[in-house]
Point group: C2
Chain length 298, copies 2
């Protein structure tokens, strides 16, 4: 989760760095964990110091002792959630293979965090639109993941993998909302307030069970929408539209792995070639070939 | 503009209906006009009765006399803006030609209103996310335009113009945010807070001059993004991907008209066939052929 989850290791590193010699680091941790849950339920504007402390079983004075103010507490919460997320995006986007393949890996990481942190993110989006100062500040400062992802789209564009008559910024801004707004189960209220209309929203809302398997299915669904939305923007040179089939819904993660590996090797055999080799086969091949084995259900 | 503009005729009909015998209808009108301007500048949460009355040159008591309360005044403002907009969407979507063609006309109307009412809409979106009660109420009640547009996508899907392995709701929710969020110059703050990052946003922000010609260019740009985003969702049966070219940027409205007419006639001659005839040529042909004369700039 982007702003909600973190693993205990990251957490401990953080605490060791900033509160080195303090004996009661368990209290910090308890407060931060309680804070995350409150953030998930209420967002920043709704978050009350009293509720956080009650949840953590700690006296309200302790929050001020450790974090000085509510603003600083919220800032700490958001920044540590973000660091974990952005490091993962950075790692996923590394490699020497084609920019569109790296972008695709980054989108997958973002999708997983978005789905896992959906409630927190929805609250934070409302906070951001309401100009909540700490959320706005963090948004200004923390954008390395957007820079990485946009940089990859720009690289793909410069290499000629995307059509040149639409700017990479336009492509990014057209495709990403189409992937992530439905994933967040949000939309813009105007001009289409889709989620207020039951018969439309229900088709999408209740599709996935709340489980590990459901999470995987949702991520793959998001990847599929990404591929379909991007399709019109692929350049003629790499316009594999005829061979392009998006992944089948409900496919297992295992078969996706094989599919991607086969796209990489270019010959249907997994793991035989290095990423460098895959690159020499031309950019964007995963996006084009990703669904090769899938069937269009029509 | 969706919630901001109206023409004087509509306005007068409204006033004549509800305030039939009242002599001072000019005061109502002055208040409503001032209210629209305040809505554009401040949104509903920021709108002050005092400021509206000062702008209209009317005593604050008069607003309460005519509209009873701020809430009711805002409701009146929003509803009359909406009525004008939704009637236009309804008219644009009428016809017996292919659902995707009718959808496309509706998108064009929505684009124009979105661009003209951008500031007002951005404020109202923030109001909606902040759960401003009157805005939320209007969103619940007034959604005929979404129903019309979604209905057309569903019709296209049932006819087999769109791929069957993705639901019409999923297609609608993926494509529309990609068209309208950039048009609003907004994005979701998460996972990509694009508009906070100057170098990405600038490419898109300052492209169009603030003029009638700029408006037309922006509408055509939005239509082009709609076509490109929808491309991956077209069914195999009508997958004219090879012949599909999106409209050239900067093209004139006149040539677009010819292009659309030519797509309708199927033979490059405008106006020779009726809409009924065009329909018999198969659905979605405008979407496929819309850019036939355009050039991919690569």
């Amino acid at each position: 989760m982007i702003f909600a989850n973190y693993n205990v290791t990251v957490c401990n590193i953080f605490i060791q760095t900033f509160h080195m010699a303090r004996p009661s680091q368990q209290l910090d941790l308890a407060l931060l964990e309680a804070g995350e849950e409150e953030l998930r339920l209420k967002g920043v504007r709704g978050l009350s110091v009293r509720a956080v402390c009650a949840r953590a079983g700690v006296s309200p004075r302790m929050l001020n002792y450790y974090f000085e103010s509510k603003d600083n507490f919220v800032r700490t919460l958001l920044v540590r959630g973000y660091k974990n997320f952005s490091r993962e995006v950075e790692e996923s986007a590394r490699g020497t293979d084609a920019p569109l393949d790296r972008l695709r890996r980054g989108v997958r990481v973002c999708l997983r965090h978005t789905i896992e942190g959906r409630l927190t993110l929805r609250n934070l989006i409302c906070d951001a639109y309401a100009d909540e100062p700490v959320v706005s500040e963090i948004l200004q400062e923390r954008n390395s993941h957007t820079r990485i992802m946009y940089g990859l789209m720009e690289d793909a564009w410069r290499r000629g993998d995307l059509r040149r008559d639409v700017s990479p910024a336009e492509i990014f801004m057209a495709v990403m909302p189409g992937v992530f707004l439905p994933t967040l189960r949000m939309d813009t209220p105007f001009p289409f307030n889709i989620h207020r209309i039951r018969e439309i929203a229900d088709q999408v809302e209740q599709k996935y069970p709340d489980s590990e398997d459901g999470l995987r299915q949702e991520v793959e669904h998001g990847m599929r929408m990404f591929d379909l939305l991007l399709r019109g923007f692929l350049s003629k040179r790499h316009d594999g539209a005829r061979s392009f089939r998006p992944p089948r819904t409900g496919r297992r993660a295992g078969s996706l792995k094989r599919r991607l590996a086969s796209a990489h090797s270019g010959q249907g055999k997994a793991g035989e070639k290095t990423a460098e080799h895959a690159q020499s086969e031309g950019p964007g091949h995963i996006v084009h070939h990703a669904g090769q084995r899938g069937e269009n259900a029509e």
